[in-house]
């Protein structure tokens, strides 16, 4: 069977890469999460929950909230790109909305740090416009800053997927609704979004996983407690060399993303069946 062997040989490099760079490290971290000085056990998890339960909650809430906001904004932008009647406004929006896609997370953190600080650009503008007094100025460099950074960075990505899907929806289905008297908002909610729901879900799940793994934004914007799990993992490894707890925290984030993925899979199975 030389042909079968050849086929196997061709797949081998890719298979090796996946095995050694993905499967093996994942297996090692999973095993590492249960490794303690006294052999295998749940000590790392007990410690993780004792020390970081508020951070776990904080992470899930922040990323969940960001995902919801990203969904809302991308529906609004995608909807306007598809249903907007002012061609110039649509063209400008189409040109503008993709920019954050090309900016790395660390730069987003840096930019927003100067923008959202107590005496940053945003507050200076608000004070300058007479909307608030200098005394009322507050720093947004906390959970709000992280949410703003995530939403700003991830909305274009989901919008890109969503606007593409919306553009390929049969225009007739939109016109039929208009013909019967549906407003643009109703068309968006009742006609357009249901037809692109799968794409929206894929975009949001991918965004959720991406945000769960971002380290630079929490470090740049909100390094104090509570913070996100990625910052804690980095801290455990860099400060203590404590791979056990770091692995346990990693496994906990994996569980959170797996929940979302499971939700998505169930939904898509239901639609197919």
């Amino acid at each position: 069977m030389p042909r079968r062997l050849l086929g196997l040989l061709l797949v081998l490099p890719a298979l090796t890469v996946i095995l050694f760079l993905f499967v093996l490290p994942l297996a090692l971290s999973v095993v590492g999460a249960f490794e303690t000085e006294a052999g295998y056990g749940l000590d790392n998890f007990t410690k993780s929950f004792a020390l970081y339960s508020s951070d776990i909650l904080f992470t899930v809430v922040i990323v969940g909230l960001s995902t919801c906001l990203i969904g809302l904004f991308s529906i609004a932008i995608g909807g306007y790109l598809t249903l907007g009647e002012n061609p110039r406004a649509v063209a400008i929006l189409r040109w503008l909305y993709r920019w954050p896609l090309f900016i790395p997370f660390i730069v987003v953190g840096q930019v927003l740090r100067t923008f959202l600080a107590k005496n940053g650009l945003m507050n200076n503008i608000l004070v300058g416009a007479g909307l608030i007094t200098p005394l009322q100025a507050v720093s947004f460099l906390d959970w709000r800053g992280i949410v703003i950074a995530f939403v700003w960075k991830q909305t274009p990505f989901v919008t890109l997927l969503l606007a593409g899907a919306m553009a390929s929806v049969d225009r007739g289905t939109i016109e039929a609704a208009r013909n019967l008297g549906a407003s643009r908002l109703r068309i968006l909610i009742e006609i357009l979004v249901p037809q692109v729901a799968t794409t929206l879900m894929v975009g949001l799940v991918l965004s959720f996983v991406t945000m769960m793994s971002v380290l630079s934004v929490p470090l740049m914007i909100n390094a104090q407690s509570p913070t996100m799990l990625t910052a804690d993992i980095a801290f455990r490894i860099n400060a203590y060399g404590d791979y056990g707890v770091a692995n346990a925290l990693g496994l906990i984030s994996l569980a959170a993303t797996a929940c979302v993925a499971w939700f998505y899979l169930r939904q898509s199975m239901k639609e197919r069946g």
Binding site: G172, T173, E175, A176, A177, R178, N179, L180, G181, Q195
Partner: protein, 384 residues
């Protein structure tokens, strides 16, 4: 057809960007009338329908319904419902939700919507399918759901954009009759866009033939079929055999001179607007007959004869269709009996089946400059 109609279109011009599709078009449609807009692709028929529906903003002219100007009204304020070529059903809604959506938008109570949807499902033969999604329906059923969705809101005018073109041939024949019977029963005004001549003839009270954004001719199916006003309409209505003739008017007769490809003939003028000189003759394959032998050289009365030679014969059903070489042209003629290849024959066209027009400078079409387009249209018209 200049009487004040229920749906009035006056001086309508429309286009996309710099391209003018419709140019100063006038059309009046009576209440309860079924009008077919017939034309080849690119003739502006769909643009006209979309302008009536309110999806294309006209650059000039006006559209009024029952005396009220709706030119600037949004699509839903015109009392019209459009059935799309692709049906455009909402795939995420059930059949009942699709049909009832227009009523839901109007804020009708749930019970009333359910009742109306039930009535329409019965009317359209969709009973028991209310819970299905469009993806689980056949083409004919989807088409009926689209029709039901349009009818649910009791529109004054029903607009149909090639609603049968996605159905297979057998279902199409049945749905043609279903739709026109339904339209008669409901007494609704309907405008139907199609490129299929037979479909237009079977369904419509009046056919409007469009050519390059203008009305080429309008009238009842019989009028258009038997009295085409231009070579374009004649070709569109199936008279695709074309011959060049020379003639002279003598009182109420037209005397055709013998030419390279035709014998002399003496025909009744029959009200045709002809002048002395070059003429263009058109006739249908099934309206002519084939005779054997040579003519006797004298002018035939009330029929035109063309000597030719059989090049090919086929049997499409009903009669043998012969391809006959006449002079430089090849003409198609039907005959109940097949003729041998190479046989010398005479094509005999009775005067009433021969459409005569004054030949314009260029051999093809009423506006000589676009001969390619005209030829293309002729071919397309024969597709149906």
């Amino acid at each position: 057809m200049t009487q004040e109609g229920f749906l009035n279109i006056a001086g309508l011009s429309a286009g996309y960007g710099a391209t003018r599709v419709l140019e100063g078009l006038n059309l009046a449609i009576g209440k309860g009338e079924f009008v077919a807009l017939l034309g080849s692709s690119g003739c502006g028929k769909t643009t006209l329908l979309r302008a009536i529906a309110g999806f294309v903003k006209p650059s000039g002219g006006s559209i009024s319904v029952d005396g009220a100007d709706v030119t600037r009204q949004p699509p839903d304020k015109r009392g019209m419902a459009l059935v799309f070529q692709s049906y455009a059903l909402w795939p995420h809604m059930t059949v009942a939700q699709n049909i009832g959506y227009g009523l839901k938008l109007r804020g009708r109570p749930k019970a009333e919507i359910a009742k109306r949807v039930g009535e329409l499902e019965d009317l359209l033969g969709l009973s028991g399918l209310g819970g299905r999604k469009p993806g689980a329906l056949s083409g004919g059923q989807r088409q009926r759901v689209a029709l039901g969705r349009a009818l649910a809101i009791d529109p004054q005018i029903l607009l149909l954009d090639e609603p049968l073109s996605n159905l297979d041939a057998r279902i199409r024949l049945k749905v043609r009759h279903d739709i026109s019977a339904l339209q008669k029963r409901l007494g609704i005004t309907a405008v139907h866009v199609t490129h299929d001549r037979e479909e237009a003839m079977v369904m419509a009270d009046r056919i409007v033939i469009l050519d390059r954004g203008r009305i080429a001719q309008q009238g009842t199916p019989q009028e258009l079929y038997n009295r085409p006003a231009t070579p374009f309409v004649a070709a569109f209505m199936g008279a695709e055999n074309r011959i060049d003739l020379t003639g002279r008017i003598a009182g109420d007769r037209v005397i055709i001179a013998a030419g390279l490809a035709n014998a002399a003939a003496d025909l009744a003028l029959d009200g045709r607007p002809l002048t002395d000189g070059d003429l263009e003759g058109r006739f249908r394959a099934e309206a002519a007959s084939l005779l054997t032998g040579e003519g006797d050289g004298t002018a035939t009365r009330d029929a035109l004869e063309l000597p030719g030679r059989v090049e090919a014969a086929s049997y499409p059903g009903g009669a043998w269709r012969h391809s006959v070489r006449v002079g430089e042209d090849t003409l198609l003629v039907d005959s109940p009996e097949p003729f041998a290849l190479g046989a010398a024959v005479r094509i005999r066209i009775p005067a009433e089946a021969l459409f005569l027009f004054v030949r314009q400078g260029h051999p093809a079409g009423p506006e000589g400059s676009l001969s390619d387009g005209t030829e293309g249209r002729v071919l397309e018209a024969s597709e149906s």
